[in-house]
């Protein structure tokens, strides 16, 4: 587009008077030609790997500071710092569990230079909001990382293990007050999984939704809730400080620095939903373009900058692409929908 700007500058410098008529015609011709050429080349170039590597738009379907926002911005940083993509722009489209972003993204059919962050929260959002679009309407590129939930109680709570809590819960299913993220969020769904596994009707669940781990811990402290489910990275420090006790985590294996904190697998409960995050491409993207995007995402995932991001955010690498990814997402979506039904939502 810069050529036409330059011409505009020349035009402004042209002497006034009779020449304006001719000048205008000449200018118009040059402008038309240069714009036509520019748009022709940009359309042609959109498909090439080089073009994708010079400019990408990365949609974070959440507000600034939200989970997807930091995921997208860490990704942006990885792509930029290693020179994988020259210019990456993060655009926030918040709302309705990510489904506003999704319905917006679906309209970008064939635009390979726009990608979007997605994950478990979106499959939940699709189910809660009865979204007209689902992840079947876009082309998933990769699952990148997961993070895990921790089940925590107040430090002086009468329960020291998950089993003790479950016994108490079974005795009074409605009386135990849970807290965690929004309704239909991964926090809520893993509780439903645990309820089903121990023979409690999820509809009896008393769940107080809160915005984030800080507020959930606060409800524990004030005695409003008995037990909280939140992302482990949000409460690790609170466990260290001795304000809360961790009962169990949803990770497949114990964390090295918390060897005493058991996983649900260790304890023998069928609680296996994880908070995954990934990247999708717009529908109608050509296979050639899709391959380039997959390559870009793979390279940024292998970068040192991304490894650093994983560590800082306590995300676990769970890279997955191709047909297995499609199956995984389909399965995740089915599970989420079934659990929502069990919860009576």
């Amino acid at each position: 587009m810069s050529p036409s700007h330059r011409h505009a500058g020349q035009k402004a410098a042209a002497p006034p008077g009779r020449t304006i008529g001719v000048g205008t015609v000449v200018f118009a011709l040059i402008a038309v030609v240069s714009i036509a050429a520019a748009s022709f080349f940009s359309v042609r170039a959109a498909g090439t790997d080089d073009d994708l590597r010079s400019n990408l738009t990365y949609i974070a379907p959440a507000g600034v500071g939200g989970g997807w926002d930091s995921f997208a911005r860490e990704g942006q940083q990885a792509m930029r710092s290693e020179g994988i993509v020259n210019n990456v722009q993060v655009v926030n489209i918040p709302g309705a569990g990510g489904t506003i972003g999704l319905s917006n993204f679906v309209t970008k059919s064939g635009q390979a230079n726009t990608i979007m962050a997605t994950g478990a929260a979106m499959t939940g959002g699709i189910a809660t909001n009865d979204s007209q679009y689902t992840l079947e309407d876009v082309r998933p590129i990769a699952r990148i990382a997961e993070d895990y939930n921790a089940f925590i109680v107040k430090a002086d709570a009468p329960w020291n293990t998950m089993e003790e809590f479950v016994e108490a819960w079974k005795a009074d299913p409605k009386g135990m007050v849970w807290t965690g993220g929004s309704v239909g969020s991964i926090d809520h769904l893993v509780i439903a999984q645990l309820a089903i596994d121990v023979g409690i009707d999820p509809k009896d669940l008393t769940f107080i939704p809160k915005a984030g781990g800080g507020e959930s811990v606060q409800s524990l402290m004030a005695g409003t809730a008995d037990i909280a489910v939140t992302g482990f990275n949000e409460v690790g420090d609170q466990i260290d400080a001795g304000r809360v006790k961790g009962l169990a985590i949803t990770a497949p294996e114990r964390f090295d620095d918390y060897p005493d904190l058991p996983t649900f697998k260790d304890l023998g409960y069928a609680v296996n939903l994880v908070n995954w995050r990934g990247i999708v491409a717009a529908p109608g993207v050509s296979d050639e373009e899709f391959a380039s995007l997959e390559q870009i995402v793979t390279e940024s995932r292998d970068s040192a900058s991304w490894k650093d991001s994983l560590e800082r955010n306590r995300w676990e690498d769970s890279f997955l692409t191709g047909p297995e990814l499609i199956d995984f997402i389909r399965e995740d979506q089915t599970k989420a929908r079934e659990l929502m039904k069990e919860l009576g939502l």
Partner: protein
């Protein structure tokens, strides 16, 4: 005094030339953003978030702190001059502040606001330095039952804004409560008044409503009258630019009362800085009625001083809650929490041990930011007041543009622009038919707080209503409430008897009409 020596180290840390530049840049940016309607300090911090990749943590947080405080200083400027608050915490400042400006006392009003913001902020920062760990215990005493009691108290404290015309006031209040319920209910997942429009699933943001009703509504109103009453041309701002000794003495108790009201609200997540500003305004208005010459309605300096101090008194304690508890009390604090996480730091009980340099440097920079902002704002007060000299068509055209810009910048959604226009028209109609705007905004702020805390409390207790009178705090609040209502009923009855009018009918109302 260990805290003091740590703070001194913090000052040493913050007083590097580079960090001072960051404080200054942050303050300027925050003020600029605060001045524009719709753009709050949360917006500015959000836009600066990518800076965290380039700057070292101390520099970044010092700048964020400048932006945060700058926004709270700046938001009252337009509220006073143009009746268009920069963000929700400045709504209460429009009530008397704009009347002062209309009466030709714009520079004094701006100075009152700046000094109020300074006093409130300073006191709360001092408190945080010495009491940050104790804050943890205080906030743990606040459960949903306590929030509910506070919400009720705030409703009653602000009911005087309804009182001038009870029917219209209630109409506006109910409208506000209604707008606040739009969206998907957070507990049951039920859709409420969303008409199946996905953009409404998350509800209507308070920013959009505030900007639409107060700013755009004012623009429409001025536009509709511009050729009809030429007399209402720009007001000459008369007199000296600064507060006289008498004015200062008049405002001082209000600043202090406002600060006292604001302080505890920084720690409890009940709507950030907005709720205490309304309460402070309500308290001053009620106190004003007992004076021999009531000033409210004519540009009372106390009606501006108290909410300004209250709003800023929350900032220090709010930052304390963020640092010591990891509890983001306001939108800005939530974004700063995200910034901490970008650095791999988790605010919470351990932050003071793990990153003492950062924490004390940040606390020290709060003080520096306050002083910088006072120095920036006081001399600029008469300058800002000159804005009123811009011919109205240009001035209000500019405001309309900034309204759209501010709302679009938060969500990048054209839907919000239509909403803005629609609500702006509603604001115009309300002005046209003299329906007060304040109750609507108060309803929007307090309604959701009352609703969620009522529900959370009942869910937590298993449907047992006795939870609401279970703790010392709730009982104290209700007793205070009963006293306030009792006193105003007695006062009203006495006034009525004195006027020898029929006393009986009015006493039944809780909302006591403004003494007249």
């Amino acid at each position: 005094m260990e805290a003091l020596s740590l703070l001194m180290e913090g000052f040493a840390h913050a007083f590097t030339p580079m960090n001072l530049v960051f404080v200054l840049v942050g303050c300027l940016l925050g003020t600029a953003v605060g001045v524009l309607p719709g753009l709050g300090s949360s917006m500015a911090v959000a836009l600066l978030l990518p800076m965290t990749f380039a700057l070292d943590p101390t520099a970044a947080f010092i700048m964020f702190a400048g932006v945060y405080f700058g926004g709270l200083f700046g938001d009252s400027t337009m509220a006073i001059l143009m009746n268009t608050p920069g963000q929700a915490s400045a709504i209460a400042s429009t009530f008397e502040g704009h009347k002062m400006a209309r009466a030709g006392r714009a520079p004094q009003a701006l100075a009152t606001a700046a000094i109020g913001a300074f006093i409130g902020g300073m006191v709360s920062c001092v408190l945080v330095v010495f009491l940050a760990p104790a804050l943890a215990d205080l906030s743990a005493n606040f459960g949903p039952a306590e929030y509910f009691a506070l919400a009720l108290f705030a409703f009653v404290a602000t009911s005087s804004v309804v009182a001038d015309d009870v029917l219209k006031g209630l109409l506006a209040l109910v409208l506000g409560l209604g707008i606040a319920t739009v969206g998907i209910d957070s507990v049951s997942g039920a859709e409420r008044f969303s008409l199946g429009v996905p953009q409404l699933f998350d509800g209507v943001s308070l920013v959009t409503v505030t900007v639409a009703l107060l700013a755009l509504g004012e623009v429409f109103h001025v536009a509709s009258r511009i050729r009809r009453d030429p007399a209402a041309r720009s007001i000459p701002s008369a007199g000296r630019p600064f507060l006289s000794g008498a004015e200062f003495r008049e405002a001082l108790p209000a600043w202090l009362r406002g600060t006292g009201i604001g302080l505890p609200f920084g720690v409890v997540p009940v709507g950030g800085a907005d709720v205490p500003t309304f309460i402070a305004y309500g308290v001053e208005k009620n106190l004003d009625k007992r004076r021999t010459t009531p000033m409210f309605g004519k540009g009372a300096i106390r009606g501006l001083a108290a909410p300004e101090a209250a709003g800023n008194a929350t900032t220090g304690t709010a930052m304390g809650a963020l640092l010591a508890l990891g509890l983001p009390v306001s939108a800005t604090a939530a974004i700063m929490l995200a910034a901490f996480q970008q650095y791999g730091l988790q605010p919470g009980p351990l932050l003071f041990e793990r990153a003492p340099d950062l924490v004390w440097g940040l606390l020290a920079s709060f003080f520096i930011a306050m002083i910088v902002l006072l120095v920036l704002n006081l001399p600029f007060a008469p300058l800002w007041a000159k804005l009123l000299l811009i011919p109205k068509p240009y001035l209000f055209g500019g405001i309309a543009v900034f309204c759209g810009l501010g709302v679009y910048a938060t969500s990048a959604s054209t839907f919000d622009l239509f909403l803005l226009t629609g609500l702006g028209f509603l604001g115009f109609l309300m002005r046209r038919y003299a329906v007060p705007l304040a109750p609507l905004l108060i309803g929007m702020v307090l309604g959701p707080l009352a609703e969620t805390s009522l529900r959370d409390a009942l869910m937590s207790s298993g449907g047992d209503y006795s939870v609401f009178v279970d703790s010392g705090i709730t009982i104290a609040v209700y007793v205070l409430l009963a006293l306030a209502i009792g006193i105003s009923i007695v006062g009203r009855a006495r006034a009525a008897r004195a006027e020898k009018t029929a006393a009986g009918s009015a006493v039944e109302h809780e909302e006591v009409p403004a003494g007249r």
